[in-house]
């Protein structure tokens, strides 16, 4: 495949840790914009949306990495952990903006978590991601062995909850959140077929 080779060889040359630097720099830059008027007249809501939207995109990219290798021969596996952990940090930033800058008080935070379904769902998504972030280091991977892969399937429900969260908070009829849910379900469905197909199909063994 003409296109996959250059992508794969470029990917080999970029270290995975560069993603963390990129993610942190982006989050800091957007915060700076918010603090200096670059995000418009309501920076708190804008920041909340920027972090939430980027977290969702990274979750989806993370889910796309395995199908990309299987179906397109593009190998970005070495970035998967960094993508996932960056997604988690952005959800955390999103949650902190919400709690500290937006809602501003502990009893209101608690009230919103129990009373507002879209917040409840978002919070459930965050809680599912938490153990994944905590076990995303080499020691945990080795210690947990095969259980690690089982545990990390929690990304699937977490991504679905994130999309439902987005659908639930939209007002009126909006297409974008629904598109995200469809994309996520598609990526998960590709894994179902993957399970069966992978026995019959020999994975491309290009260097």
């Amino acid at each position: 495949m003409a296109l996959t080779d250059p992508i794969n060889s470029a990917a080999r040359r970029v270290p995975a840790w560069s993603l963390y630097i990129l993610g942190a720099a982006w989050a800091g830059w957007v915060f700076y914009l918010g603090a200096t008027g670059g995000l418009g007249v309501e920076p708190i809501e804008a920041l909340e949306h920027e972090y939430g939207a980027m977290a969702l995109k990274l979750l989806v990219v993370g889910l796309a990495i395995t199908p990309l290798r299987r179906f397109a021969g593009i190998n970005l596996m070495k970035f998967r952990r960094a993508v996932g952990v960056s997604a988690f940090f952005l959800v955390l930033a999103h949650l902190l903006v919400w709690a500290v800058l937006d809602v501003q008080s502990l009893d209101r935070i608690w009230a919103d978590i129990v009373k507002r379904p879209y917040v409840t769902v978002g919070m459930a998504g965050f809680l599912l991601l938490l153990p994944l972030a905590l076990t995303s280091n080499n020691r945990a991977v080795r210690r947990l062995g095969p259980k690690w892969r089982q545990l990390h399937k929690l990304t699937y429900p977490a991504a679905i909850l994130a999309a439902i969260h987005f659908i639930w908070l939209a007002k009126g009829f909006q297409i974008e959140p629904v598109v995200w849910l469809v994309v996520i379900c598609g990526l998960l469905a590709s894994r179902l077929r993957l399970g069966r197909a992978s026995n019959a199909r020999v994975a491309p063994s290009k260097g």
Binding site: F31, G40, E42, P43, L101, V103, D112, L169, G172, F173
Partner: protein, 299 residues
């Protein structure tokens, strides 16, 4: 019958335009002139300074032009409001389709500085220019039997991406009970800060009902109908559980998806503190309109 209501939010009437364009400059300017004894009355209002022109005109909900807060200022300028016509029909003495100026040209306008509370729990203070809706209704002649006023927003798909995407069931419609419509606080706004009202804020004429959530204050009006029965309203049609017909600002009745107890004044920056939301948005003089009504049922 203008001037039946006196502003409790006031600002220096003679504030030069260069200053109100930027409130931070305004405050700085007043602090400077305050030393010369000119800033007294304004300084006393503290946080009730009107929002800046930029805040009022770049952060808008006008779903015909898109669902993002920045979409209206991007897309609404394409709307042509010259030759605007308004149809007045239903139980009125003088029904018809009027050129806007024929309908409102002789009504006395005045400045009203009102708090504006969005159902999404943010708020602004806006210096509107407009006339009392009661004056317009008197002019068209309300007939016996009319108990509600229904309003409709323009639908111009070529310049309204939100209409093409059917975000709501357009045209946007709203309504008031006749006594709410006749209340001296209820105005039709045609300007902000003495300038013609920008398209994204509802040009050329919009309703402003300061004790109700912002979505009741329907924009870019093309039809006013006097009717006997409670008219349908757009957000109520979209989601009756979340948006009632009355939609009075009420800190004690939460929206199902978020609390209405507090609000954030736009313009406070990234560390802006929330403030308590006031019953009827602070306009207690309307409480009598709802005597004997359970406002948790009629939300």
């Amino acid at each position: 019958m203008a001037h039946r209501w006196i502003n409790d939010l006031t600002h220096d009437d003679v504030t030069p335009k260069a200053l109100w364009l930027n409130r931070r400059q305004l405050i700085a300017g007043l602090t400077a002139t305050g030393a010369a004894g000119l800033g007294g009355p304004v300084a006393a209002q503290g946080s009730l300074e009107p929002n800046t022109w930029e805040e009022i005109t770049t952060y808008n909900n006008f779903y015909e032009f898109g669902t993002g807060k920045g979409d209206p200022v991007q897309n609404a300028p394409a709307m042509d409001t010259s030759g605007w016509q308004v149809t007045v029909d239903g139980l009125v003495d003088n029904p018809g389709t009027y050129d806007l100026m024929d309908l409102i040209g002789d009504l006395e306008t005045e400045e009203r500085i009102y708090r504006f509370r969005c159902v999404e729990a943010w708020s602004m203070v806006i210096p509107w220019n407009g006339f009392e809706l009661a004056d317009l209704l008197a002019k068209v002649g309300v007939q016996d039997g009319a108990r509600y006023v229904a309003f409709e927003t323009a639908v111009i798909p070529e310049v309204m991406p939100g209409v093409r995407r059917r975000v709501l069931d357009f045209p946007y419609v709203e309504g008031l009970r006749l006594d709410e419509a006749m209340h001296p606080l209820t105005i039709m706004a045609t300007g902000i800060y003495g300038e013609p009202i920008p398209n994204q804020n509802g040009a050329p004429m919009r309703l402003v009902v300061p004790w109700k959530y912002g979505f009741k204050s329907i924009k870019s009006i093309v039809r006013i109908s006097l009717v006997a029965d409670q008219p349908p309203t757009s957000w109520n049609k979209a989601n009756a559980r979340e948006y009632g017909f009355y939609s009075n600002v009420n800190p004690n009745v939460d929206h199902p998806r978020w609390s209405q107890a507090t609000e954030r004044r736009i313009g406070g920056g990234i560390f802006s503190q929330r403030q308590d939301t006031l019953m009827f948005n602070g306009y207690d003089e309307v409480a009598g309109l709802y005597d004997g009504m359970d406002l948790t049922e009629f939300y």
